[in-house]
């Protein structure tokens, strides 16, 4: 039977992790759900691909950092095949003089750090404790739908009052630190906290990963708190066995077990709106699907402006959505390696860690300045994983795959990317060679995804990974726009459930919370 002839209670547009999570929760609640995905495979930027035959790697995103364990359990992802090759993957900042730093407070790591710099060892303990306590204070904002303001008994009034209580419970020094940190730049914070340049740069990078800001951009310290808060419900950064595609595969199986009909290769042309009510979708092939509720996990801007169309929206909202910024700043390099590159000073078990390659802060800042101007910098901050160390099946025996996220790569470079692509590649390999001199010799194959490639391949506008930058004016009840907070839209029956909605990140929370809102409204209607 053709999909168009079946009747559904809900349509989910987009088969990324949030779309799948939303579909699962809707189906779990007894709804007949159809999920349609434009490309031939599910998952969007969460995918496992081949660099060359037998070398598998997470094509774009390479770590699960924010998916709450509750979602894993409720969707029975383990039963549906999800295994983790590693959880709580530690972060290690690589040092040019072989004194690598593990960013953790495990006794052994602290002792090592303490030998080099006793002040920073103490500072690190305090810094991580403060970070956790700030994140805990913010947690309730992140795990539920964002509170709506307006009116004396609004959700926001209650939530803000609770925040006051929680901030007070932090104790005076911590509260004061939070007030100072919220508007501060990460550069200022790490400069006043740590003495060691490597530690400063490593935490600056942790705050800036995936953003289009620099270490001294005001407000960047908050990114670190926000990211930490999203991790509170998780077991830290995790590497799914089989790459990110395995997470999607588990979600797909889960969805199918709940009875979700999944249709790939079906791009939506438009969302059908009839007198202010979204009644279904039309695909590019001319099929019509109808359902009382439609949830879109694609970019909210694309959903509202391309699929719904400005004619059904107020002009102010449409103009504001069109203005939301999408500055992609991250490129991805995937390498197939003949043997494990040797990084001096790294113990064998540490090769499975999240390796941070960071220039000193002033060079980091200059890299950002170059990025703003659309130039290629000489130094890049990079996050490197070698997942085959913990997941041998990804590469032939004795061989490895390496996944590298490169920060501050502009979408456009002056003079165009032709020719510059190789320059970037060379710069990255050269930088890595400082730590692993044999890496160049070990490369068998590789693929480089510039922000523009990421846009083309995964449909992420501007090559920006979050479907809307995580800026204060695009967070919480303002994500993606105040009129679209809480996953609702001005159109009855249309909900937004993608990463462009609160709280964002690879968490699946937007999908789960949107499903919850849609279900509760469905009951009321």
């Amino acid at each position: 039977m053709r999909l168009a002839d079946r009747s559904f209670d809900a349509i989910v547009i987009g088969g990324g992790h949030n779309g799948l999570v939303a579909a699962c929760y809707l189906a779990k609640a007894g709804k007949r759900v159809v999920l349609i995905e434009a490309s031939d495979h599910l998952g969007g930027a969460l995918a496992t691909g081949e660099i060359s035959p037998d070398y598998m790697i997470s094509t774009a995103a390479h770590l699960v950092e924010a998916m709450p364990r509750r979602i894993e359990k409720e969707l029975k992802l383990a039963r549906n095949g999800l295994r983790f090759a590693a959880r709580n993957v530690p972060a290690i900042a690589l040092s040019r003089n072989k004194r690598h730093l593990t960013l953790s407070t495990r006794r052994r790591d602290l002792a090592a750090l303490g030998q080099w710099n006793a002040h920073d060892a103490a500072a690190l303990v305090e810094f991580l404790a403060r970070l956790k306590s700030h994140a805990t204070a913010l947690r309730p904002f992140l795990l539920g739908a964002p509170p709506l303001s307006g009116g004396p008994s609004s959700e926001a009034a209650t939530a803000f009052r609770k925040l006051v209580w929680r901030a007070r419970r932090l104790g005076q020094p911590s509260f004061e630190d939070l007030l100072h940190a919220l508007p501060a730049s990460i550069g200022d914070i790490v400069d006043e906290t740590f003495e060691m340049p490597l530690l400063r740069a490593a935490f600056a990078f942790e705050a800036l990963r995936g953003t289009a800001e620099g270490p001294y951009s005001p407000g960047t310290a908050f990114n670190l708190i926000y990211r930490r808060a999203l991790q509170l419900e998780t077991k830290g950064a995790s590497l799914p066995r089989g790459g990110m595609g395995a997470l999607i595969e588990a979600l797909r199986r889960s969805a199918e077990s709940f009875g979700v009909a999944i249709k790939t290769g079906a791009a939506v042309k438009r969302i059908i709106v009839e007198s202010g009510v979204a009644t279904g979708v039309e695909t590019v092939t001319g099929d019509f699907l109808r359902a009382p509720m439609t949830l879109s996990s694609v970019d909210p801007r694309a959903t509202m402006l391309d699929l719904v169309g400005p004619a059904c929206l107020d002009a102010g909202l449409a103009a504001r959505l069109a203005q939301t910024s999408r500055r992609g700043a991250t490129a991805k390099l995937n390498l197939a390696l003949e043997g494990l590159p040797s990084i001096a000073g790294l113990s064998p078990e540490e090769y499975g860690a999240r390796l941070l390659v960071v220039p000193p802060l002033n060079e980091f800042d200059q890299a950002f300045a170059a990025f703003k101007r659309g130039e290629l910098s000489d130094e890049f901050a990079m996050e490197v994983t070698i997942p085959s160390v913990v997941d041998a099946a990804l590469a032939p025996a004795g061989h490895h795959v390496m996944s590298i996220l490169i920060q501050h790569v502009p979408y456009d470079v002056a003079g165009g990317w032709a020719g510059q692509r190789d320059r970037l590649l060379n710069r990255v390999i050269e930088t890595l060679s400082r730590y692993a001199p044999d890496i160049r010799a070990r490369i068998i194959a590789g693929e480089m995804l510039l922000p523009s490639d990421i846009e083309a391949k995964f449909g992420l506008a501007g090559g920006e990974w979050h479907c809307g930058e995580m800026r204060p004016d695009q967070l919480l009840m303002f994500r993606p726009a105040p009129e679209l907070a809480q996953y609702r839209t001005p159109l009855q029956g249309l909900y937004l459930c993608g990463a462009g909605n609160h709280p964002g990140g690879i968490s699946g929370l937007a999908g789960q919370l949107a499903a919850k809102v849609a279900l509760s409204e469905g009951r009321r209607a």
Binding site: G276, G309, P310, A315
Partner: protein
């Protein structure tokens, strides 16, 4: 004067052969018209000219109008030098209500909106259903922002299948362009590229007919048509915010002085008089039409939200169609309609025999609102005002305090005022079919 409307519609004179002796059908005498004043180099304004490099910004009709001035009283209208009063306010008012009054309304803001999606774009822009507007028709429109507050109002002309003209009091280009996102539409400010004349009064049709606008009487209210005046194309619409029979003529600025001269030439026998901004304001107040920037602030200008208004608060509910299609602010207006308005813009009258000025309007002794436009109606011998009053139900006993000056001494009088529920001047001619008035003159 009342006899005109008795002439039945069937007595169309348009198809008859022109009466040779009256010269009614003669072509304009361009030999003579070309001698009439053209815009002097000195006053030729360039749109990109910086302030303080010249002193006067004028319309293409400036010298024609200036030639009629007996008082040298000028004012500023959207930056253009505009006559306040040309002769006396009473004479000009009489011409408007009893004969015909001609004024230069070129300073009005005009936008040309064209392109494949022009109709759907406008339908999303304005609160009314634009789809029912046919070619050569005009509708009054109001447009709101997302929260339902009025951005501005004006008249929308449909010039062709996908060509419209929006005429407003204030500029709105930023909002019009912001609203164009996702529509194939071209929005262009044609303010300087288009001159406009307003001919209002019971003899307006007769004047036009005499000037060569044959069959002008067949234009229904809020309709428009092209005329060819001896090679000058003129678009005439039956519009004008005076509560009177009236037309507005849209013409190339270069041709405007000739059209002006032609109308005067032919209109003299009907009592045609040139009028200024003061009479335009007076007629508007008599008709109870609020003006943006004066009686209410556009949503983008109102720093205090209380100064902005919804269409309901302005008494423009009839320009809002909440049912037939989406427009900006519709969702908000649906909610607002359920609620009480915060204030109302109302017409009120003061029974006092001389023109007075006042500001605060009191209700039972306490200030309750602001008079935003005040005028003394010569016809009624009344002070009229538009005022913004706090919305309240129940009995209304309004009063105003007026400082009444005699020489250098001042008396403060408290004068009762009353609300007007309908426009005080309602000429039957406004909606009737005018007949050519040749026979009477």
């Amino acid at each position: 004067m009342s006899g005109e409307s008795d002439i039945p519609f069937v007595e169309e004179t348009g198809h008859e052969e022109p009466d040779e002796t009256s010269g009614f059908r003669e072509q304009p005498d361009f030999e003579r018209l070309e001698a009439s004043p053209t815009v002097d180099e000195l006053f030729a304004p360039a749109s990109d000219e910086p302030p303080f490099s010249r002193c006067v910004l004028t319309t293409s009709l400036h010298l024609s109008v200036a030639a009629e001035s007996r008082t040298n009283r000028w004012t500023d209208w959207n930056g253009y030098t505009t006559p306040e009063i040309l002769t006396t306010i009473d004479d000009e008012y009489r011409a408007l209500r009893q004969a015909a009054a001609l004024s230069d309304i070129s300073p009005m803001v005009k936008y040309r909106i064209s392109g494949r999606d022009a109709a759907s774009y406008l339908d999303r822009l304005v609160a009314d259903n634009v789809m029912r507007l046919s070619v050569d028709e005009v509708m009054p429109v109001v447009f709101c922002e997302d929260r339902g507050f009025v951005v501005g109002d004006g008249h929308l002309f449909r010039l062709g299948e996908s060509e419209y003209r929006l005429v407003t009091e204030e500029t709105h280009l930023a909002w019009l362009l912001d609203s164009a996102l996702g529509f194939q539409v071209h929005v262009e400010d044609v303010g300087a590229a288009l001159a406009a004349l307003s001919l209002q009064g019971p003899h307006a049709a007769a004047v036009l007919n005499a000037a060569g606008f044959y069959d002008i009487e067949t234009i229904r209210p809020y309709a428009a048509r092209w005329f060819d005046l001896g090679g000058i194309p003129v678009y005439a619409s039956r519009t004008g915010a005076t509560g009177e029979l009236g037309y507005e003529l849209w013409v190339d600025p270069e041709d405007a002085p000739m059209l002006w001269a032609r109308l005067f030439d032919k209109g003299a026998e009907f009592g045609l008089a040139a009028t200024g901004y003061a009479v335009r304001e007076l007629a508007r107040i008599e008709a109870g039409i609020p003006r943006v920037g004066c009686d209410y602030l556009g949503a983008f200008a109102a720093v205090d939200l209380a100064d902005a208004s919804t269409p309901f608060e302005l008494g423009l509910a009839s320009l809002v169609d909440l049912e037939s299609g989406h427009f900006t602010g519709r969702d908000a207006l649906r909610r607002l309609k359920q609620r009480e308005p915060r204030h109302l813009v109302v017409s009120m009258a003061l029974d006092f025999p001389e023109p007075v000025q006042f500001c605060a309007v009191e209700r039972e002794g306490a200030i309750d609102g602001t008079a935003t436009s005040i005028g003394f109606s010569p016809a009624l011998g009344l002070n009229l005002a538009l005022a913004r009053l706090r919305y309240r139900t129940g009995p209304v006993a309004l009063s105003v305090e007026v400082d009444f000056r005699e020489g250098l001494s001042v008396r403060r009088l408290k004068i009762p005022a009353r609300l007007l529920t309908e426009a005080v001047i309602g000429s039957p001619m406004r909606h009737a079919v005018p007949a050519p008035l040749l026979a009477e003159f």
